[in-house]
């Protein structure tokens, strides 16, 4: 369970550009939830993910994972339990290393990176199996550099890599936004499959309203650092894309654009 309690976050404090984003923000994600988060630019979606992962510091408030306060925990330590896929496909893989090396790197997460052989031959079959699920033919290119792959192929790998080892939470940061529609569909389908299979508690930020409605069991719309819409599984089923669009327009009129 992820709990955000009384979160305060200001950007550029003490300057003329000071901008308050979160003010007494509270948010809870229950175990097994697959939350789709939507909202306009600057609404705080990505900032929320960054706060949970520790990529940006917190002004005050608490972030609690499974009952444990992790507000002071270093970013990298939080990733023992969290997997994360970014919008930019390059962020989840190493371009100058081969597919095999990338898979091996991810496979060792949580263990010691010592002086033993980088890639374990015994695991190669497993990697092939995993890659073949993608249906992209990557399993036959194990020795190719990842830098030579397309954005979609890399993003698929990034998804595989981030969920390869036992984790509890999956953070998806607009992970289909940089892909063409067809590839995005494949990646989204794969995401859903992995989340179900591994029973991951997931937060997915997306701009794609269709995905937000079709996938997951909870839908949240953020605006100016607040969750202005929060629909559970039942309510979500009754919500259509048009309903959400209406709400969006409403906000836009309030803001004045």
């Amino acid at each position: 369970m992820i709990e955000l309690q009384n979160i305060e976050k200001y950007y550029n404090p003490g300057t003329v550009n000071e901008m308050g984003l979160f003010h007494d923000f509270n948010f809870t994600v229950n175990d097994g939830d697959f939350v789709s988060v939507i909202g306009s630019n600057g609404s705080g979606k990505t900032s929320m993910l960054n706060l949970i992962c520790g990529s940006i510091p917190l002004d005050s408030g608490k972030i609690i994972i499974n009952g444990k306060d992790i507000s002071k925990m270093k970013e990298y330590k939080r990733y023992y339990k969290i997997g994360r896929v970014y919008q930019n496909p390059s962020m989840g893989t190493c371009p100058t290393m081969t597919i095999l090396e990338n898979m091996s790197l991810a496979d060792n997460k949580g263990k010691i990176y010592g002086l033993s052989k980088g890639s374990d031959k015994k695991r190669v079959t497993f990697y092939r199996e995993q890659l073949s699920r993608l249906g992209l033919g990557l399993e036959d290119k194990m020795d190719n550099l990842v830098g030579q792959l397309s954005g979609g192929q890399r993003q698929a790998m990034a998804l595989l890599m981030s969920t390869m080892t036992p984790i509890e939470f999956l953070i998806l940061d607009e992970h289909t936004a940089a892909l063409d529609p067809k590839t995005a569909d494949i990646i989204m389908e794969l995401t859903d499959e992995i989340v179900r299979e591994k029973n991951l508690t997931t937060i997915m930020v997306t701009h794609n309203l269709r995905y937000a409605v079709d996938y997951g069991n909870r839908l949240v719309m953020m605006h100016e650092g607040k969750a202005i819409m929060d629909k559970n599984e039942q309510e979500k089923k009754e919500t259509s894309i048009d309903d959400i669009l209406d709400r969006f327009n409403q906000i836009s009129i309030e803001v004045g654009n």
Binding site: Y76, K77, G92, P95, T96
Partner: protein
């Protein structure tokens, strides 16, 4: 022939330096100026130990170790104290100037009367037969051992992480590893190799001179860039081999300049030759800039 030999000697010894610079510049993407200090650091400790009667062979691991310490210092300044990469190198380079003076005792330590790894080897019957080739052979052995060990290391799990951190530090964090520590590790290894190069160079020239580090980074970078860009397409060749060859080519450029041009024009000619090599190899920045976005 003797021209080729002296170029090879110098090129191979500086090849060790190139391996070190390769780690920071190519793998870590960190412009590390510490090398201008850690190269003479290796030489200073070597000169000091040899004059004290320590076995020349022992100076090799000791130089490496002290270089590692210097690299760790640069790393800590950069990672923990959050000083910019160039600046942390400059700070260490400056500090090492004095440290080198302290270690060596004076600005110039000759080793003509002392034994070096090269003179010891010539006493050995196996090596003695090689005559004038002895320096080249020993330098080759040292650089090849360094290269093989580095290649092996880069294939380990720790090596994978090191390669990943320069490529994409976000991924390393996502793997629940502190990228700062990995950077420190890389700087440590790099400066260890650089100090080792200083150790061998000092024994080959039989002198430690405080100013011997000036411009080391230029030679190192030139070797790495020449090597990696010339052999970019040669997939059969490892980058570590390429940078050693790069170092030999650089020394060849210098030798051609020494040979055929007036002393005043030396540096300019070297620069022009360097440029020609780069243009021919059609250097392009291959790294995806998007990664930093």
């Amino acid at each position: 022939m003797s021209f080729a030999i002296s170029i090879l000697e110098q090129g191979l010894i500086y090849g060790i330096l190139a391996l070190g610079v390769y780690i920071t510049y190519k793998i870590l993407d960190f412009p590390d100026l510490t090398v201008d200090g850690s190269f003479p650091l290796g030489a200073a400790i070597t000169a000091m130990l040899i004059t004290k009667g320590v076995s020349p062979y022992l100076t090799i691991p000791i130089s490496f170790a002290i270089g590692v310490v210097a690299g760790i210092c640069t790393g800590v300044i950069h990672v923990k104290l959050k000083v910019r990469d160039l600046l942390s190198g400059i700070i260490m380079m400056t500090a090492l100037w004095t440290i080198n003076l302290y270690i060596a005792g004076t600005a110039n330590v000759p080793l003509f009367a002392q034994k070096t790894i090269f003179s010891l080897a010539s006493e050995n019957t196996l090596f003695a037969k090689m005559g004038t080739y002895i320096t080249v052979v020993i330098s080759l052995v040292v650089v090849v051992i360094c290269k093989i060990l580095l290649d092996l290391y880069l294939k380990t799990k720790s090596g994978f992480l090191l390669r990943a951190v320069g490529d994409n530090d976000v991924l390393v964090t996502s793997l629940a590893k502190d990228q700062g520590n990995i950077k420190i590790l890389g700087l440590a290894l790099s400066n260890g190799l650089v100090a080792l190069a200083g150790c061998i160079f000092c024994q080959e020239e039989r002198v430690f001179e405080i100013s011997m580090g000036t411009g080391t980074i230029v030679i190192g970078l030139a070797s790495v860039i020449i090597g990696t860009s010339l052999f970019k397409k040669a997939s059969f060749m490892k980058a570590t081999t390429a940078v050693i060859i790069g170092s030999i080519i650089y020394k060849l450029c210098v030798a051609v300049a020494i040979r055929n041009f007036s002393p005043q024009a030396m540096k300019l000619i070297t620069a022009v030759l360097f440029l020609i090599v780069l243009i021919i190899s059609g250097r392009k920045k291959t790294k995806a800039n998007g990664m930093k976005a």
